[in-house]
Amino acid sequence: MTGTTLDPYSGRYAQRTDGLAVSEIRALFSVANRPEVVSLAGGMPYTAALPLDAVGSMLGELVAHNGATVLQYCAGQGDERLRELICDVMALEGITGASSDDVVITVGSQQALDLVSRIFLDPGDIVLAEGPSYVGALGTFAAAEATVLHVVLDEHGLVPAALEETLAGLAAEGRQAKFLYTVPNFHNPAGVTLASERRAEIVALCERYDLLIIEDNPYGLLGFDGQTLPTLKSLAPDRVVYLGSFSKTFASGVRVGWAFAPPAIRDKLVLLSESQVLCPPMLSQLAVAEYLSTQPWREQIKTFRELYRERRDAMLDALDALMPPGCTWTKPEGGFYVWLTLPEGLDAKVMQPRGIAERVAYVPGIGFYADGAGQREMRLSYCYPTPERIREGVRRLAGVVEQELELRATFLGSSPSSDRLRWPRGSAPGPELA
């Protein structure tokens, strides 16, 4: 008599799938989408603020007048007209004189991250990334079986001294990282922005240690004061692969992003992308091109900024008014996220079931680290809920934290948590939360 594992393919999977399993954390996230739950977890842009009637008409006319092209394959590098328009967008982001020839259109910037990982990373290779870092990037690095070393960031972004220490330490061991992955503007998840003076320092360090930089800038145009700081790409064009996205400035559902890379890297990106997807979806590309050509997209970005600023204010005001002593949080000047640190000894993952019971959702911090750090931290998103819902969500969260403090005091006194659990693979938030 033999048993069954219910998986006839057990034993045939690649080793890199080890640890991919259903998890409690992911199960708890499934409740977050119910309307009763105030979700401060999701990073979904507020697409309802788009001029949907105008966009709808635009899409209809696009298919009606140009359907044979819109519904066709295209070149693997992406549509030429859209690549030229992307250069206009990058000019707004602080990169002037870009050539459309060096732009590769991808299925969201997530595909660009995957391409970069596949191009550069062998199993065991080292990647440097901020701690915390974007969960979607950590996923691609894990899939490439790379080792992520986190470099600390503070309220002014990545700390150059910490980066130098890491680079020097690796050099002393005869090792070298393959690249530095960084989100300089309105960081996901930390909400902080890399200070202007640090940008030059970091570029100089990367020059000195001959380190490639992957600069991910999906939120760059969402500064609440309309501010743009110099991109790393503009400071070191040949050392930086720049990743951009229309997910936050137009629509995440179109899944259009891009990589702007030095020519040698660009060629590999194109060839690998062709093997993955043949070409990016033409319907989405031409929708974006048409949007950029016919709609007041710069004005729309201002609308988004104002909307997100109001929600950021609602969250910061509520946190100030309601959170128990000992909690600290970042104060974003753009983007979608606040990064909250709990009082000593609390664990955001452990208290997540209580959060769901109280109908508030957040993302525990350990999801944003590859090394099990972040237990006291959580990401709060203000991009999607209304200001009223944000205030209610923070009120509920404050109650959860207070109850956890009481529980912790009962069983553990004020001693800090000693258990350090890794975020199990497969338990990272899904795309609606990333």
Binding site: L6, A27, F411
Partner: protein, 318 residues
């Protein structure tokens, strides 16, 4: 008057707001597929503010509750369905309330003559008022190690931990009590882990072939339950015939002692000396691709869709 299956209309309730929402949605979809194959007209609803109005406007012959966790198992929803005169498959609200609360269920089946690990169930307030350290010391002194720590209410092993060192106990309590206000502690029992489903298709409750559970990691936790490949299942369980009979008898006796109806699933450990240790009973067993009730139904030579349709038919004519 009995309906023919082909004329039955049913609603499957799935989703909800409990921690097991995702599991429930998987269960619900599979139940719907099985019922469609059996010729039942079925639709799936996620219980919310529209539920009662929806049931009133398009009234089904009966409801199948594929909700897990409090939503489907604590009896509250069933009370509301009773108020709305909507028939449903499964136990009534009063029986659910007893089965849902693990300490209550253990006390009832223990009184009915079943063996269950010694236990203590305490709310957070008891630890706070009497001092956690002294209470936990006494528990370890009485039960020894390893200990099983789990929420007094809930399923899918959410919040459940095996504790092998007393030093790990305080952190486990914090983790467990995040799932609910009361924790159940009992000695961890070594043995063959089995799950025995009981169904009543009209001739009284009958135990289906027991499923033996062998998790690769050694612990049948949430991941091991719902990730194909992480647990080996033997159906029927590889038990001596006496133990096979004993687990079947225990499951039916638990079903009856708790006053359950239509379907239940008892989880138990068969120790090396053949004793069946009752752990808990589930009034809304999982119906996912890795759940034990469908395995047991198929091992009994039955079709899941036909069994559920029969249960719906019985509920509709109750």
């Amino acid at each position: 008057m009995s309906r023919r299956v082909g004329e039955l209309t049913a609603v499957v309730l799935a989703g909800g707001l409990a921690y097991e929402r995702e599991v429930s949605l998987h269960s619900g979809r599979r139940v719907c597929e099985a019922l469609k194959q059996a010729g039942v007209a079925v639709r799936m609803l996620d219980p919310d503010g529209e539920l009662l109005a929806g049931l009133a406007v398009d009234r089904p012959d009966a409801v199948f509750i594929a909700l897990h966790g409090a939503d489907g198992e604590d009896g509250a929803l069933r009370s509301v369905l009773d108020l709305a005169d909507v028939p449903y498959v499964g136990s009534d609200a009063a029986a659910c309330r007893m089965a849902w609360d693990k300490p209550t269920a253990k006390a009832i089946v223990h009184a009915a003559g079943l063996t269950t690990p010694a236990w203590v169930a305490l709310p957070h307030s008891t630890f706070r008022e009497l001092g956690a350290a002294v209470v936990l010391d006494r528990i370890v002194e009485r039960f020894g190690l390893p200990l099983m720590v789990k929420p007094a209410q809930g399923g899918s092993a959410l919040g459940a931990l095996v504790i092998r060192s007393a030093a790990d106990l305080p952190a486990a309590m914090v983790s467990c009590l995040s799932y609910g206000d009361t924790v159940l502690l009992e000695p961890y029992v070594e043995g063959v882990e089995v799950s025995v489903s009981v169904v009543d298709l009209g001739a009284g409750p009958v135990a289906l072939p027991a499923v033996e559970i062998v998790p690769t990691s050694g612990v049948f936790d949430y991941a091991a339950r719902y990730t194909a490949g992480m647990t080996t299942y033997h159906t029927p369980a590889r038990l001596p015939s006496a133990a096979t009979d004993a687990v079947a008898t225990a499951a039916v006796r638990a079903h009856e002692a708790l006053g359950l109806r239509d379907v239940s699933r008892t989880d138990a450990i068969v120790t090396a000396d053949g004793v069946v240790q009752f752990l808990e009973v589930n009034v809304s067993p999982g119906m996912t691709a890795t759940s034990m009730l469908p395995m047991s139904i198929e091992a009994a030579g039955l079709e899941p869709g036909e069994v559920i349709a029969t249960l719906l038919e019985r509920a509709a004519t109750r």
